[in-house]
């Protein structure tokens, strides 16, 4: 590999190569800049609005997903083995997007929770996790006045049951 391998001859770019450049600029560069300037999202063009809202208070308003065993014991479903392929925070965000708060219509969220319970039981029967059998799944709205290190995590200011679903008898 001698130095002759690359020559700086300043040749003009060929027409086909210039065309490829303009296609790339029009297909990827221009839409990315436009979405950045005006907002909106159409995968994979995003406006990266995470953490963009103002958050003037330290109140935390979040969800908790709990399973109920046949004898009424509560199992917090934050073990990702129980909710594959979701991570816990992803699953809760997904429930928000399905209106689990019931601001308009919680039916899609309730349907999704039934699907989640069905998947949990299917995976349990297949031996994919060692969680207990569950009768129902419950979603709570939990609020804290946040403290450093989430010191009061186990003692929220309020905890309200939003949804509770069980598998239909035919499933």
């Amino acid at each position: 590999m001698g130095r002759h391998a690359v020559t700086f001859d300043g040749r003009p770019i060929r027409r086909r190569q210039r065309l490829a450049a303009y296609v790339a600029i029009l297909a990827f560069g221009l839409p990315s800049v436009l979405v950045a300037l005006v907002g909106g999202e159409a995968w994979p063009l995003l406006d990266y609005r995470m953490y963009a809202d103002s958050k003037p208070t330290s109140e935390v308003d979040w969800l908790e997903l709990v399973g109920r065993t046949p004898d009424g014991n509560a199992v917090r479903l934050d073990d990702e083995g129980y909710i594959v392929p979701f991570a816990y925070s992803e699953l809760l965000r997904s429930l928000y997007s399905l209106d689990v708060l019931g601001e308009l219509d919680p039916t899609p969220a309730r349907r999704a929770l039934i699907g989640l319970l069905d998947a949990y039981e299917t995976q349990r029967r297949l031996g994919e996790h060692n969680g207990p059998p569950l009768d129902r799944i419950e979603v709570y709205r939990v609020r804290w006045t946040a403290q450093p290190g989430a010191a009061n995590f186990d003692k929220p200011d309020s905890r309200t049951l939003l949804q509770s679903v069980s598998l239909p008898a035919t499933m």
Binding site: V6, S32, A52, P56, S89, A150
Partner: protein, 311 residues
């Protein structure tokens, strides 16, 4: 040629050596594979309960189906192979094109389930750019084979400059978008209130297990105890995000801004537990002024000098 046209041509098409683009290609795909694909089983996306499905963007427009476990297995395997081939530079055009199409689908699938790993979006965009670029002309097995058979190597040209510039543009656009989104949604309140401090606090609850496991929560706790420091940090974050495009045009600004953006992302990982950016760590390679110091000509662009790496 008018001044704007000359500036346009200088920005996009100043001749550059082929090897920096080859190096960026290899580094980007290799790091994406090592830091993300090798550690993540994307086949799991086939296991989302169908009741969670809310199709977005082209998934909705084209009514694309959700694959079965086996179907997803084939797609993911093909995606992984294409990424590896693209890193090696073997059948580079086909590999990058396949990685682009499959990446759009495979990485985007989770977008239809109500949440998103924002950082992943840049991966198919950069892959698409590289699919249109002659990124396999150097530092690739294709180039090695071509050289062995024909004795020919790629020479310097403007076709090796625009892909690097376009990836840089996309890169800074991500940060600009994040900064503008803050101004659109919160305005100056984002820096004048305790917003950043409160996000540090909130994420200790939202990412409870990650926060408890990370030693960095001690740093977050210290910052939370100093609201003034958090506000200064918020000003710096917003200023760096909005200034990011300056890195495209100012060599001096680039020296400061790119390390600051990297630190900003490390801070996201440590304090907000958002470590997804490691998936595209290789993009920082596009900012390294490869070969500039060894370039003897004044008209030589970044990467146009330092020959001898053209296999």
């Amino acid at each position: 040629m008018s001044a704007p046209a000359a500036a346009w041509n200088t920005f996009w098409f100043t001749p550059a050596a082929p090897w920096p683009l080859g190096l960026c290609r290899a580094g980007f795909f290799a790091s994406f594979y090592i830091l993300f694909l090798a550690r993540t089983d994307l086949r799991w996306y086939a296991l989302f309960p169908p009741e969670f499905y809310q199709p977005h963007s082209f998934f909705a427009w084209l009514s694309l189906p959700v694959p079965s476990w086996d179907g997803m297995g084939w797609l993911v395997t093909a995606f992984e192979i294409s990424v590896i081939l693209a890193a090696l530079g073997l059948m580079t055009r086909l590999a990058t094109l396949t990685a682009f199409v499959l990446g759009l689908y495979v990485l985007g699938l989770q977008f239809n389930y109500g949440y998103l790993h924002w950082a992943h979006a840049i991966v198919p965009i950069v892959t698409g750019i590289l699919a249109l670029a002659p990124c396999g002309d150097a530092l690739s097995l294709d180039a090695l084979i071509r050289r062995t058979i024909t004795g020919k190597t790629a020479s310097t040209g403007g076709q090796y400059r625009w892909p690097v510039q376009l990836v840089r543009l996309i890169f800074v656009t991500v940060f600009l978008a994040a900064g503008l989104a803050k101004l659109r949604q919160a305005g100056l309140e984002w820096v004048l209130s305790d917003t950043l401090r409160n996000y540090f606090l909130e994420n200790q609850y939202v990412f409870r297990s990650e926060g408890a496991a990370a030693r960095s929560h001690l740093l977050a706790d210290w910052l939370i105890a100093c609201p003034g420091v958090c506000r200064v940090l918020a000003v710096v974050v917003l200023a760096v995000e909005l200034s990011a495009p300056a890195a495209l045009f100012s060599r001096h600004g680039r020296r400061w801004l790119i390390p600051l953006l990297f630190l900003f992302q490390v801070g996201n990982a440590l304090l907000l537990y958002q470590d997804f950016f490691f998936a595209y760590l290789g993009l920082y390679l596009f900012w390294v002024p490869w070969g500039r110091r060894s370039c003897s000509s004044n008209s030589c662009s970044e990467g146009a000098g330092a020959g001898g790496m053209n296999f």
